[in-house]
Symmetry: C4
């Protein structure tokens, strides 16, 4: 009954007026769906008239196709031998580029995990994970700033025992390390976010699920007990109803303990590595994405440039539909109306905003100091700077909220330093994705195993048995303190309250 199409027939339907695509060997007419696509119509139009399976598969949860298209939109099948042959990338074929299987136990540190994964995953996946804003200054600085903090080991202390367990928002975890909401895990490995969840279960680690995960939240937590700790990341959508529907789903998943509202990327940063890679494996010409686009910005300075549809990097297409109009006044009450889960604010980068967040306890129960892994604004401050800024201007924040940090964690000593500065826990994003790329679920486990062992060695050599014993006496921050914000240049140290409250 289903019709068999020749590829040349499909290829003719490559416009907004008649847009067909091939997915998993089936031919779909997606013309009427173009305006409904959460990622925007452009992404589909780029692939109109072609086999879009390779592009589609790793970034869409299984089942989403059937959920969104009606039966009549499936027109039939494509004659396989009529398809043009293209070189397969590793992700598509499941083949690895290096010889033989990876011996995960020979990997000794987080940098080596990235190196192994880089050889195994597709160029596109690498570019999406590796990329950061502009010149990658903040990405690198995130890590380097930890090297500028010296440890202060105490001797003659019994270090037989070492306990890395702690709590996040009152929930027990075995590690002060969690997996940050990092999108598109299936670009790295078919196990995807579900594989990460299983690795976290083994090591007692928390996981924050990205809104842009390549699997549905339900799929990710499918095998998790109710007391495994997950959070769900919310990018509020311009169409609020979509976000409200998602919040409703989260309210019904017992493993989801909190909503992590991401604030540090109201518009996408400029990730050039990602933009360069966006059509690797396709025939589209390379095109940059800095050009203005009416769907993102209502620019009041009208440049009168025509804005033709252009290709985008993975990072940019994920942004389509994200709201840029969130505020303290409007967004928090809206959230309260749709969920009673605790709120964690991700992306705080100044002491002023940390202080403002503390005024919204207990709806807000934690903040994450983050510059989005250096992926949003280049030369934004690393979390270590913001920790020290809060200590300098408004240390009372630590009493009202949990403070988590992410960005630049590569060693157990980095974990310990963040905790000594007052952080309750540290998130790792790229390390988890590269772990997945290096060896699926077992690769993520190896990553957690390494960081746990390094953290324990560091605690023991400092003479510390429990994470709550770590404090400022264990670190020398002189080299960093001299760079911490000292108020507007040339002015008196600002009055914190007056300046901030005016912003509310």
């Amino acid at each position: 009954m289903a019709k068999i199409f020749d590829y040349t027939e499909v290829a003719k339907h490559n416009t907004a007026e008649s847009c067909w695509v091939i997915l998993y060997g089936k031919v779909y007419d997606v013309t009427s769906f173009l305006n409904e696509h959460p990622g925007g119509s452009k992404v589909i139009l780029q692939l109109a008239g072609t086999d879009a399976t390779e592009e589609y598969d790793p970034i869409h949860p299984p089942g989403i196709l059937e959920e969104n298209l009606s039966a009549e939109q499936m027109l039939g099948s494509v004659r396989p031998e009529s398809l043009p042959t293209t070189e397969k990338t590793p992700v598509q074929t499941g083949e690895v580029q290096q010889d033989g299987p990876v011996d995960l136990e020979s990997i000794l540190n987080i940098d080596e995990i990235e190196a192994v994964a880089t050889k195994q995953i597709s160029k596109k996946a690498w570019a999406y994970y590796y990329s950061a804003g502009d010149d990658l200054f903040s990405k690198k600085f995130n890590n380097e700033v930890y090297r500028k903090i010296l440890l202060r080991p105490r001797v003659f202390v019994d270090c037989t025992n070492c306990d890395t367990s702690t709590t996040f928002l009152g929930h027990n975890v075995k590690l002060p390390i969690y997996v940050s909401p990092a999108a598109m895990a299936r670009l790295a490995h078919p196990a995807g976010e579900h594989g990460i969840a299983q690795a976290c279960e083994k090591y007692g680690a928390m996981q924050v699920i990205s809104q842009n995960a390549s699997m549905t939240p339900e799929q990710i937590v499918a095998d998790a007990k109710d007391d495994q700790v997950f959070g769900w990341q919310l990018y509020v959508q311009t169409e609020r109803a979509k976000s409200e529907a998602m919040l409703e789903r989260m309210n019904n998943l017992p493993q989801i303990k909190f909503i992590c509202l991401t604030l540090d990327a109201p518009v996408p940063g400029k990730r050039e590595d990602d933009e360069r890679s966006k059509n690797i494996g396709s025939n589209l010409p390379v095109r940059a994405a800095v050009q203005e686009d009416a769907s993102v910005s209502k620019t009041t300075s009208d440049a009168k440039t025509p804005s033709p549809p252009k290709a985008m990097g993975v990072g940019q297409s994920l942004f389509w539909g994200t709201a840029a109009d969130l505020t303290w006044r409007t967004t928090l009450p809206w959230l309260a109306a749709h969920t009673s889960l605790p709120i964690v604010l991700k992306g705080i980068q100044t002491h002023e905003d940390a202080y403002l967040a503390s005024l919204h306890a207990p709806q807000i129960k934690a903040i994450i100091l983050s510059n989005h892994g250096g992926r949003a604004l280049d030369t934004a401050p690393p979390a270590v700077h913001t920790l020290l800024e809060i200590r300098k201007y408004c240390p009372e924040v630590f009493d009202k909220l949990e403070v988590w940090v992410d960005g630049g964690i590569k060693r157990g000593t980095d974990v310990v330093k963040a905790l000594a500065l007052g952080a309750r826990g540290v998130g790792v994003g790229r390390a988890a994705l590269f772990g997945l790329g290096a060896g699926g679920k077992e690769g993520v486990e190896r990553m957690l195993e390494i960081l746990k062992a390094e953290t324990e060695t560091c605690m023991r050599l400092l003479g510390v048995e429990r994470v709550d014993q770590l404090g400022l006496q264990h670190i020398n921050t002189r080299m960093v303190e001299k760079d911490i914000y000292d108020g507007p240049a040339g002015l008196e140290r600002p009055s914190l309250g007056s300046r901030i409250l005016a912003k509310l």
Copy 2:
């Protein structure tokens, strides 16, 4: 009627006594013009008896030949087949060195524009644009100092709208970015300064025309509406009458809104890359230009060295005739006598001079903090230092004058940082010339498009909608402040007024 010469005949007239040159196939006797040449006689004598077209063309405005030579000085034509064959450089032939046309949209940032242009323009043009003083310390530091300023992004701020428009001296522009007075644009592309003007029109950007432009001001503004914003750069000539004549022309061009008097290069800096390239494509031996020359300096220490005519870099030949005797007392009144246009002083590098300039408002309406792109004095301070110096010693300057800056701008974050420090706008010089080299008018447009988009992304991620909202609270300058001038070493902080006024 016109005589036909053999090249060997022309070649005999290669002295100051009888000096012939070939230009565009015609033979000219320029013996009597030698002493009138604004660039000095030496430059011509180097080419005496040869075909000087390649040297002459890109650095002289069209029509200037006819304007300066009488009919009888044109002796006839050269027999083409008698000319020696020489390898053409890219600029001369219009050929590009890389394969295929440049896809401007694949260029993602300012460094890539320079890289693309470097492959396309002649070595001589590259050397002139790229070169800077001595060891290029200030050129590099100009940019690096922006990397040492961290941004302070605020969250939970509605950033749907973003407006980059502002005003310069009361004139509306759509960008806080302008094109600095950079000479010799036709070395990069035949579109020249007129092409830059058209790109500026498209993006609503201001352009300051170099006195050493390779097109006349009239040609450059030919297609511009009266409200397009231009300035004209003045290097006061030793023969003041020449400058007075130029001012008269400017007074009659409605697009010219101000005179930009350049002060940071009363004598040429030492640009070794430019000197090394000066006779690429010719047969002259390489000669250095550090030797003293009576026409530049009345050196009181008499070295008794003979000073034979020597070759010069592009930068040095442009300097011939520039006055070195400007002063606050004498030059400003002279200017007032010849133009009522507002004066913008370019090249301020200390708070003392910024303060002095502010005493001359309203004749002076703006100052440009500039070390001439690092091309004048190596280890001169970057504009960021001077901005912080003014904030430290005499912040009232910002109330009396507009403060513009140039040097080292490569990213939208750099633009935003300069504005947050109090600058009204930032100039780009090399970026415009390399944009022209990369793709003519469209290359300059791409440069402006990139910087505009980066600036908008930065403003949004800081939570800022209009440029006038940017302030010191958006940046952390700790890493730079520790290097700012702190008064003479070992002395009390100087009394600003007394020390400066003594200089007037």
Copy 3:
């Protein structure tokens, strides 16, 4: 009478149930010895059923085999021609990898000694000596911090005479430089620690014998007069009786003047170079050692991971059995009960611990500021930092104890700087081992000769005749002082006594 075995027969006994090994051509049944091995059973099981001579020889003192195994455990001999052929490493064959003999006098500095030795010793030995914690930050910083201290040479001072002699704990030595307790010297050269002792005798230098020396203390001091100065390093064993027996032996050796209790490595640091090399020359697959091991840690967070026996680097196998439960309260009285030799505490890294140690004088007579050559905790502070920290918070420590330092010494100027900061002497570890590798006893002599000559040249050029004249006036420490611990960030400078005493 002794049976002759074929290698294939031996190879079958490769389990914990029946474990045979070949040593020096003899076959031993070590099944019952597995649990008694001070280095743990795993190390042996890795070699079960094989010829273990190459692994065994350089890290066990001669005679220890007979001491630990009974006659019946020696089963017979192996048929030599049945052994598999393997490529010999330099240490085993005594062959050197470079051409011709080394001309020790052509070696001009400590870096060159390391370079020469690196060509001559086995990869395994190199990895053990060279390796340091994590990213080798502290190892490098140990040396770089000396480069940041400037010298202040005084002129017009008679520097005809120069005397480098001093005393350690009242014992006369001719150099303020001693050999630190560095393990496994026979990995570098058959002369081993005895060769080091002979070189020290020639230059009047002190030697601290490592507990993990590859020769017994008795063998090392065999040819030394009673007044040659040695110390013995103690790593307290979990089985205290073993340590007590060793102390008893030391009490009876007149050359041993003190016990050096090592505190900076209660658990092994993470030395990745060493881990990577651990089975060079064997057929074992490379395996990492970060996995938890019940015999090291009683981790309260139970990861439920199975912990199969794994290979270890040289550094880790030496750690087996080291106690992690030492404290000020319990360990010092225990030591006092077993030896009346003075105690030197090695591994002090904070002023707090230096101060605590000073409260235990006179049992404790000296402390060694050390981060274990960067081999324990990466980003731990260099000894120079701890020296300056003590000066800043509790300079009275210098009056109560001798303060020795090690780590990063490469030049005579480094020696002089440490002394000017208040150190009584400086230890060199890797330099001695690499000296041994470069040329046996004579290589160690060359190392001492170079450091002595450099130290004398530096003293003369500073205008100093005796080491006790060196003081703070001879150095400029500005570049380092700005990085010294300044108390917990954001808090008042801590009250030293109250914070520390609570720890006792």
Copy 4:
């Protein structure tokens, strides 16, 4: 009459008992001269029985041979064809290693002069000139510290005129730049120190003649008018009579205006490049020179090492016989007894010694802040540090003495910065020698021409007409001031007078 020897006969006389050498084809018996050789006997014994011409020629003034040996010590001639053939080095043959003659005018800066010379001079000469102490830290830092000082250009100042003339000790010179006492100029070029003198005459520059010049003072000043300004460097000899004889000669040379007593190298620094090169071109095995030598040191710690004669680098052989027992108390009165010429002290490196020197005015008329070009003690402070130290602790020194500096000068901006800090003039050593190597007298002229032109450009762009107008207001030293000695760490700022006077 003169006997003809076969080389094999000469070769037999290679001991201290019978020591023959060949010089310029003649055979000499120098047995009885061994103990009289100012450079020590070892240097000769290394060459005993060989043709020593290549070693001897460039480091001995012409005529010195006849002066020191009697007629009977010349035994005869060597049969030329019996000499072994050896590869000639460039200096010996006069051949240059690069193709074609050097175009000196194509050299644009001091680094390029060094690069050109390095290609032309012998490896031995390069090693002697290039080498510095230990790791060359101070040599590099000498220059880098100038890059950390920013200039402060003033605008709107008439800079038509520029005058670089000044005075040294009241004598008129045309440049604030002088040639430092650098030894062994004939290693670079046959023109030697006389060539340097001629170049200095042309540019009106002062020259300080090295005691170890390869020409006699009389030869060097032979063509100089009486008012050309020279100084003579004194290394006081252990045999004071030798120094007294030299002073007597200086008293009779009208061109010698002062005695420059060198204090910064009472013993030779450790110059490894020089030591490595010491027998290039000979057959001696490479031997290091760090071993103790009784003729240099009366080491009280007796190492009992046999000290056989060893080869030395050029730098070390020049040191033979230099006194190490100079003091303020004894040496200045002795000097006063033997010359009434003003004394200039070279090698001051602390404010304490600068202050002490100022107490000895007017016998002492100037001090030279110098770390011997980084050749004495590595990590010794650069002259810029000492300038700032004097400003900080005892600025009155500038009123009592002229302060000259050397070390690290590569640009005219460096010259200007030193002058702005209070120096009266700056010395260049390697630049002069490399200039000589690059092109003889003309190469030195080119060096002076470049530095003069760069200095003038810098003065003009700062808005300064005469060198005496340069001051602290023209430079920003913030980046350097933070590293200046701040008194002993942890102590109150020292009382200058009490601490110093105790030393006298």
